[in-house]
């Protein structure tokens, strides 16, 4: 497989789809967060590939740095929320988060 733009984009697509399926099907809350990390990494692979193969240049890499920083911030807050949920309900199963059900 040659290292051209479409191959990188395919890797980014696989990462993205795996992340979305992970977010949609996992019952563990931490598993959903891992899906979010996969989605963001798929986007990062896309950014870096376009930076390398088109005249996006340095902008793609700056954007991917911002994506990394924001993903770390979001993982911290999401884990704090997950910890609070576990401390209150003694389970991390997202199917049990139905207190607000109408």
């Amino acid at each position: 497989m040659t290292a051209d733009l479409n191959s990188y984009l395919f890797v980014g697509a696989v990462l993205f789809v795996c992340g979305v399926v992970c977010m949609a099907t996992k019952r563990n809350g931490i598993g959903v967060l891992m899906g979010v990390e996969l989605v963001l990494n798929g986007a990062n692979v896309n950014f870096v590939a376009f930076s390398r193969f088109t005249d996006l240049g340095l902008d793609g890499q700056v954007f991917s740095l911002f994506v990394i920083v924001l993903a770390a911030a979001e993982a911290a807050v999401a884990l704090a929320i997950a910890l609070n949920f576990y401390n209150n309900f003694l389970t991390i199963d997202v199917d049990r988060a139905n207190k607000l059900k109408g």
Partner: protein, 193 residues
């Protein structure tokens, strides 16, 4: 097949197979392990695409920071050794079918676009920064607000804006997020009831 193609094939396969293993793992600890492999291989792909600083930042921040935080979360919310939250096999089949359809749609759309090749004048100046992988100083300068790689190609006397404003915004955002997460995850006094 030259070295770059071989290395790209190896790391692309490692990334894709690890991401699939994350989806299909049944315990969350194994998911964390496969996620570490997937993100490490993604970092190798970044190094192959001449994004040296982004690859190093991925290893430092993602693998060394965010994933360690996720493993902390896994260990703090472990619900006992005999209780496994599993998905039924019907849900696995349906999830795989939907995922495969989604992947086919994305793959067809990205193959159907003719991506623009870099124009010759930007090849000489702007993307020669990216073509060697020595991106640390241009990245640092662009985050400080100056873009010497773009200003040397434009022949007006307008300076290209850097990324100083997003940098400041992200810095304040990180501060707010850290304070918020530390407050949310504080040790609470047990309620007397």
């Amino acid at each position: 097949m030259n070295g770059e193609s071989f290395l790209f094939t190896v790391f692309a396969l490692a990334t894709c197979l690890s991401a699939l293993a994350v989806v299909f793992s049944q315990t969350v600890v194994r998911m964390a392990f496969w996620l570490i492999i997937a993100l490490g291989s993604t970092s190798a792909l970044f190094f192959l695409a001449n994004a040296d600083f982004v690859g190093a930042a991925q290893l430092l921040i993602y693998v060394g920071g965010t994933l360690v935080l996720l493993v902390f979360g896994v260990m703090l919310t472990a619900s006992g050794p005999y209780l496994k939250i599993t998905t039924s096999s019907g849900e696995i089949v349906m999830g795989s079918c939907v995922g495969l359809l989604f992947l086919l749609v994305v793959f067809a759309s990205l193959n159907g676009v003719k991506w623009r090749d870099p124009s010759p004048e930007t090849i000489t100046a702007a993307s020669h920064v990216v073509s060697t992988g020595n991106t640390l100083r241009p990245l640092g300068l662009s985050l400080l607000g100056s873009r010497p790689d773009k200003d040397s190609t434009t022949d007006g006397d307008t300076l290209s804006p850097g990324y100083l404003l997003p940098f400041e915004i992200v810095s304040v955002h990180l501060l707010v997020v850290l304070i918020g997460a530390a407050y949310l995850a504080r040790a609470k006094r047990r309620a007397e009831c």
